[in-house]
């Protein structure tokens, strides 16, 4: 049986661009049809912006790779029209177990907060994530949206100009030249775009390697996340077992620094390691094996005039905590509405600098979290190991030590504190919805809040008056009028009002709060709209 990652999903076909004397100029070209590139393209096409995706391959991701998709990513995927099948296919789990040496030290239940349309996260192979996004691209194409994926189109050279970029693209039928007003590089941690432009990628490489194996097995392990520190089957190292759909299990085994990567990847070396972990009599089949080195790094700037980097091409983190694909999705979520305003002439190019400010902030937060997890999982000194082991020993007996155990902090979206797009907080409301925050979902009877805030500037009023529509310098803002009575569970009140009796929120197209007050004040909100679109 062919696996889905072995079947071409966007096979090469000749483009008319290859048969014209002068290069065709597109609005936006995206390099890379991974999760982030596809998200960027769908986001732009849904807003009517013409976009072409170039990928050097013609298939979805080889092997599972990213497997943990967080709630924020699912919310973004909902806005892009592809979230539902991901949640339906994905595995949801809440229970985790932590083992140290030969024993289980404790078990936890994440008890996700109620009142959200999406689960806290799902486990899903990256190839499914990409396949659902490609399905969405096809659906948009049928509706006539200006979006195209070109498989086996490898960018070989990039020329940057003041108001466009020029690309040399290699195909099975020779090369051609094509141009774009804007280029979004989503070509991964090893980004050829970054290399061709001679740009930096600095950070820290940890002296540690991990073997990742995805195995297919009929095992009666429960749907839980199991993490081992210093287990008997991988002495002095760590291990992780996590379930994916279709009976596929993700296993991470820490290998240490001085290893021969090619040798360790061979099945005859992998299988004994897995048998030591799973038991001699467990039947399994290897689906995919890879080895990675822990590293945390980012570009100094994500925007280089007309070339914008998003996802792993801009920043790379160690994978524990699911901050790779999840943070990349937040990149495109942040970028695409801004690019739309700039392309439509409703904001100046300087608005794109806020993408840099906000997403560099996000990347730094992810790198910090990831570095801390890495320091706990792989202690760098004798004393850091002593302290780490003390935390684990205490966690078996005393609850207080459990929050100190760090086997990866699961990705939560970044709050853009201090962003130049925020207005000063003018509501005595909950901290979690202060300006810069991603809007938390809330139930509204049989519906949910977030789908009502999708893709446009919104004035959310809760028990407050305001005009149904305001326009400020070309930017239209429509009102969503709610009352605390719309949610009998009172989550809307708890998340957006706190002790206040009314509130008005200005919410950006990416569902982040730009401004809030206890009532509508025309001047204040017009000012806030200008700020949120980079005009002040």
């Amino acid at each position: 049986m062919n696996k889905i990652f072995e079947v071409p999903l966007y096979a090469y076909t000749r483009s008319p661009d290859q048969d014209v004397p002068a290069p065709v100029r597109h609005k936006v070209i995206v390099i890379g049809a991974g999760p982030i590139g596809l998200a960027a393209a769908i986001d732009l096409a849904q807003q009517g912006i013409e976009v072409v995706v170039l990928d050097d391959n013609d298939k979805v991701s080889f092997g599972s790779r990213a497997i943990c998709f967080a709630k924020r990513t699912l919310e973004i995927a909902d806005r892009l029209g592809g979230g539902r099948p991901m949640v339906d296919k994905g595995v949801q789990w809440n229970v985790g177990k932590v083992f140290f040496d030969e024993r289980q030290v404790y078990e936890f239940n994440l008890l996700p907060e109620e009142g959200h349309a999406n689960p806290a996260f799902i486990n899903l192979q990256q190839y499914y994530f990409e396949q659902f996004m490609v399905d969405r691209v096809r659906e948009l194409q049928e509706q006539g949206a200006p979006i195209e994926i070109r498989g086996r189109n490898k960018v070989e050279a990039i020329g940057t100009h003041e108001d466009h970029v020029k690309l040399e693209v290699e195909t099975p039928e020779g090369s051609y030249t094509v141009e774009a007003d804007w280029l979004i590089a989503c070509d991964g941690a090893g980004s050829p775009t970054r290399r061709m432009l001679g740009l930096d990628f600095v950070g820290r490489v940890f002296e540690d390697n991990f073997l990742i194996a995805d195995v297919i097995m009929d095992a009666d392990f429960p749907t839980e996340r199991w993490f081992w520190f210093d287990p008997p089957f991988n002495k002095g190292q760590s291990a992780l077992l996590h379930k994916q759909p279709d009976g596929v299990w993700r296993i991470d085994l820490q290998l240490g620094w001085d290893i021969d990567k090619e040798r360790e990847k061979r099945p005859e070396n992998v299988i004994p390691r897995l048998k030591a972990m799973l038991g001699e009599d467990v039947q399994f089949e290897l689906e995919w094996v890879s080895i990675y080195t822990f590293q945390c790094r980012r570009m100094e700037k994500f925007r280089h005039n007309r070339v914008i980097f998003a996802g792993d091409s801009a920043h790379q983190v160690s994978p524990f905590g699911a901050r790779g694909a999840n943070s990349g999705m937040q990149d495109t979520d942040n970028l695409c509405w801004k690019l739309k305003l700039v392309i439509d002439g409703k904001a100046s190019e300087s608005l794109l600098d806020s993408y840099d400010v906000e997403r560099v902030h996000g990347a730094d937060e992810n790198i910090l979290n990831s570095t801390r997890s890495t320091d706990f999982i792989t202690p760098k000194s004798q004393m850091s190991r002593i302290l780490r082991d003390a935390v684990l020993d205490l966690s078996e007996h005393h609850e207080f030590a459990r929050p100190l155990v760090n086997s990866g902090r699961l990705s939560v979206p970044c709050t853009y504190d201090g962003s130049p797009l925020n207005s000063a907080d003018a509501l005595d409301g909950p901290a979690r919805t202060r300006p810069g925050s991603p809007c938390p979902d809330a139930p509204l009877g049989n519906e949910f809040l977030l789908p009502k805030l999708a893709g446009k500037f919104t004035l959310l009023t809760i028990d407050a008056d305001a005009p149904d529509m305001i326009e400020e310098d070309g930017i239209e803002v429509t009102r969503l009028a709610l009352s605390v009575k719309d949610d009998p569970t009172l989550e809307l009140k708890r998340r957006y009002l706190g002790d206040a009796i009314s509130a008005v929120y200005l919410i950006r197209p990416d569902q982040h709060v730009a401004a809030r007050r206890d009532n509508y004040e025309d001047n204040a909100f017009r000012h806030a709209i200008r700020r949120a679109s980079g005009k002040e």
């Binding site: 002593i386 082991d389 003390a390 935390v391 205490l394 207080f400 030590a401 100190l404």
Partner: protein, 65 residues
């Protein structure tokens, strides 16, 4: 913000010190180190106040103000 107490604050200080030594008695170096680490974590959790803990870490480094 609470201030870290850096004046004598333990009743029967000699007894406390003797208890501390007794807990380590007969332990190998590695086990003693582990005990100390656990003790630091237990005490830190009891204090809880992050600003006091920051002051305590600083005081323990013997760095001058």
């Amino acid at each position: 913000m609470s201030d870290l107490i850096l004046t004598p604050n333990i009743d029967d200080a000699d007894d406390f010190y003797a208890d501390l030594l007794a807990a380590h008695e007969g332990l190998e170096k590695a086990d003693s180190d582990a005990l100390n680490a656990r003790l630091v974590l237990v005490l830190a959790n009891h204090i809880g106040d992050r600003s006091v803990l920051t002051q305590a870490i600083r005081a323990a480094t013997l760095a001058d103000e």
